[in-house]
C-alpha cells in the first residue's frame, strides 16, 4: 500500500509554472535581508578601516574632532546622542503613558476616535518640519526662560520628546487594550478606583508592550537627524548642562557629508557604523526583553 506524505504531496502538486512563481517570490522575499547585508557591507567597508586606523579607543573615546587636522574622536557625539535620547525619553515617556492610559482606559469612544488618529498623524509630520518649529518656537523659548543661546540639549530633547510621542502612545495603547478585561473587573470589584486599576493593574500587566514601545521610541530619537541638526547647536563639546549645545552622531554625518572627502568621509562612515551598532544593540535588547516575557 502506498503511503503518501501530504505535506510532500502539496509541494509536489505545484506545477512547473507554479514552482517558478514560488521561486520568484522567494527571491523577492529575500530582498529585505539582502538590503540589510548590503547596508552593513557598504557602510562598514568604508567605516571600519577608519576605526582601526584611528584606534578603537581613540575613535570612541577621543574628545577632539578636527577632521582636517586628522583628529577623529567622536566621544562628544556619543555623549550628545545619549543625552538628547535620555532627555527625549524623560519628556516623552511620562506624557505618552498618560495619554495611552487615558485613551485606552478612560476616554469616551468618541474622544478616542478623534484623538487617536490625530496623534498618529503627528508621526507623519516630517522631521525637518519639527526642526523648523524647534528653531522658530522652542529655541527662543528656551533662550528666554532658561538662558543661553537656546540651541541646546534641552531644545533637542523637547523636540525629540514630542516626535517619539506617537510611537510610544500607539504601541502602549495596543498593549493596554490587550490586557484582559477580567484584570480590570477583578480590581474594580475589590473596590479599586479606575485610576488605581489603571496604574496598579493594567499598566503593569502591559509592561512588556510598554518596554517595546519605549525602546522603539528610543531608537527613533537616537536615529533622528534633521530635527536635531536644526536645534542642538552642533558644537563638538561634551555638554555638561542641558543648556549647552551638543552634536549627535547623526548630525555629525549630515553636517559634514556634503563637503567631506578622503579620511574625513571615511570617518563619517565610521560614525555611521557606531550609530548602527548602537541601534542594533538596542533592537536586540528589545527582542530579548520581549521574548523573555
Amino acid at each position: 500500500m502506498p503511503v503518501d506524505e501530504f505535506s510532500a504531496k502539496t509541494v509536489g502538486a505545484l506545477s512547473a509554472r507554479e514552482e517558478r512563481i514560488r521561486r520568484l517570490l522567494l527571491v523577492m522575499a529575500l530582498s529585505s535581508v539582502s538590503i540589510l547585508a548590503l547596508i552593513i557591507l557598504f557602510v562598514f567597508r568604508e567605516g571600519l578601516p577608519m576605526i582601526w586606523k584611528t584606534g578603537v579607543s581613540a575613535f570612541l573615546l577621543g574628545t577632539r574632532w578636527a577632521p582636517t587636522k586628522g583628529a577623529f574622536g567622536i566621544f562628544p557625539m556619543i555623549i550628545g546622542t545619549l543625552e538628547v535620547t535620555l532627555g527625549a525619553l524623560l519628556i516623552g515617556v511620562p506624557l505618552s503613558l498618560l495619554v495611552a492610559v487615558h485613551l485606552s482606559e478612560f476616554a469616551k469612544p468618541l474622544t478616542r476616535a478623534v484623538m487617536k488618529p490625530m496623534i498618529e498623524l503627528l508621526a507623519a509630520i516630517p522631521s525637518v518640519v519639527f526642526g523648523f518649529i524647534g528653531v522658530t518656537v522652542i529655541v527662543p523659548f528656551v533662550r528666554e526662560w532658561f538662558g543661553g543661546t537656546g540651541f541646546s540639549v534641552l531644545s533637542a530633547s523637547i523636540i525629540l520628546g514630542v516626535m517619539i510621542l506617537p510611537t510610544i502612545i500607539s504601541i502602549t495603547f495596543e498593549a493596554l487594550r490587550a490586557v484582559p478585561a477580567s484584570y480590570r473587573e477583578g480590581a474594580l470589584a475589590l473596590g479599586a478606583t479606575p485610576w488605581q486599576t489603571a496604574i496598579r493593574v493594567t499598566l503593569p500587566a502591559a509592561r512588556s508592550g510598554i518596554v517595546t514601545a519605549v525602546i522603539l521610541g528610543m531608537g527613533r530619537a537616537m536615529g533622528e537627524t534633521m530635527a536635531v541638526i536644526m536645534v542642538a547647536g552642533n558644537a563638538v563639546v561634551i555638554p555638561t548642562s542641558p543648556l549647552h549645545p551638543c552634536r549627535t552622531l547623526t548630525s555629525n554625518v549630515a553636517l559634514e557629508m556634503a563637503y567631506a572627502s578622503g579620511d574625513h568621509q571615511k570617518a563619517l562612515f565610521a560614525t555611521g557604523v557606531v550609530l548602527f551598532v548602537m541601534i542594533f544593540l538596542l533592537n536586540l535588547l528589545a527582542g530579548l526583553l520581549v521574548k523573555r516575557r
Binding site: L98, L122, F132, P204, T225
Partner: protein
Amino acid sequence: MIDSATRPDSVQRVSATATVSTTAAEASSAARYNARYNRLGMSIARLTSFFVTAILVSIVGYLAVRGLPRFSPGFFIDSPINLGREGGIFPILVSTALLALVSLVIAVPLGIATAVYLTEYTREGHLTLVIRFGAECLAGIPSIIFGLFGFMLFVVSLGMGWSIMSGGLTLACMVLPTIFRTSEEAIKAVPDGLRRLGYSLGATKSQVITRIILPQAKNGILTGIILALGRVIGETACVIFTTGISMEMPKSLFDSARSMSVHFYLLAREGTSIEMAYTTAFALVLLILLVNSGANLLMQSAGRR
C-alpha cells in the same frame, strides 16, 4: 500581599486599602482620599491627552498662519527664482513625485511579494525567521544610514551620481519594511475559508493569491503604500546625499533633483527666505496630512469589512 505591585495579584493590595481598615472612620477617609486621588489622576491624564493632541493642531495652525500669505496657485506652478526666494516650487513638486514614483515602483512589488511568500508559501521556520529579522532591522535603521548606504552604493559604486534614480532606490530600501508589514497584516486577515473556497473551485495557488487573497487584502495593502508615500515625501536626510539639491526641472531619472523636504530644509537652514520656508512647510505638511488621512480612511473601511 508582599508581592510586588504587578500582575493581577496586586488586586489584593488594592483591596487592602478599602477593606482591611479597622474602623469605619478610617475606611471612609481612605475612600475619600482614593476618590480625590482618582479624580486628580484621571484629570491629569485627560489634560495631557488634550495637550498632546493640541500639539498637532498648533503645528498645522502655526504653519498655516505664517505660510498662507504666500500660498497661491502660482506657488505650485511657477519655477523658483533667486534660489527660491521668489517664484514657486513647480520643478520641486515634479521631482518629489518622480522620487516617490521610483521608490514605490520598486518597494511595492518587493514588499507584497515578501508578505505573500511568508504567509502563503512557508510555515514558520528558520527562513521566515531570517526574513522577518531582516525586515525588522531594516525598519529600525535611521535614515541617515540609508543615506550613507545609498550614497556609497548607488551614487558612487554604481555610478548613478546624485539622481532621482539613486534617491528613489535608497528610499525604496527604507520603506520596504513598511509595505511588507502592512501587507502581511492585511493578507493574514483574509479568512482561511476563502482560500479553501478558491482551491475547491479548481484554482491553483497563484490564482488563489491573485484572484482572491490580494483583492480581499487590497485596502490594507493600499494603506501601507500610502503610509510609505508619506514617509518618502517627508524624508530629508537620505535624499540630500543621494538625489542632490539641484533646483532645475529634471530631464531624466538620472538627473539630480530637489525634493520638497530638502527644499524646505535648505530654505529654512540657510535662511534663504523664511517666508518661503513657512509656505513650503505648510504645503509639505498639508500634502502629508492629506496622504495620511487617506490612509486612515482606507484603514477604517478595511476594518469595517
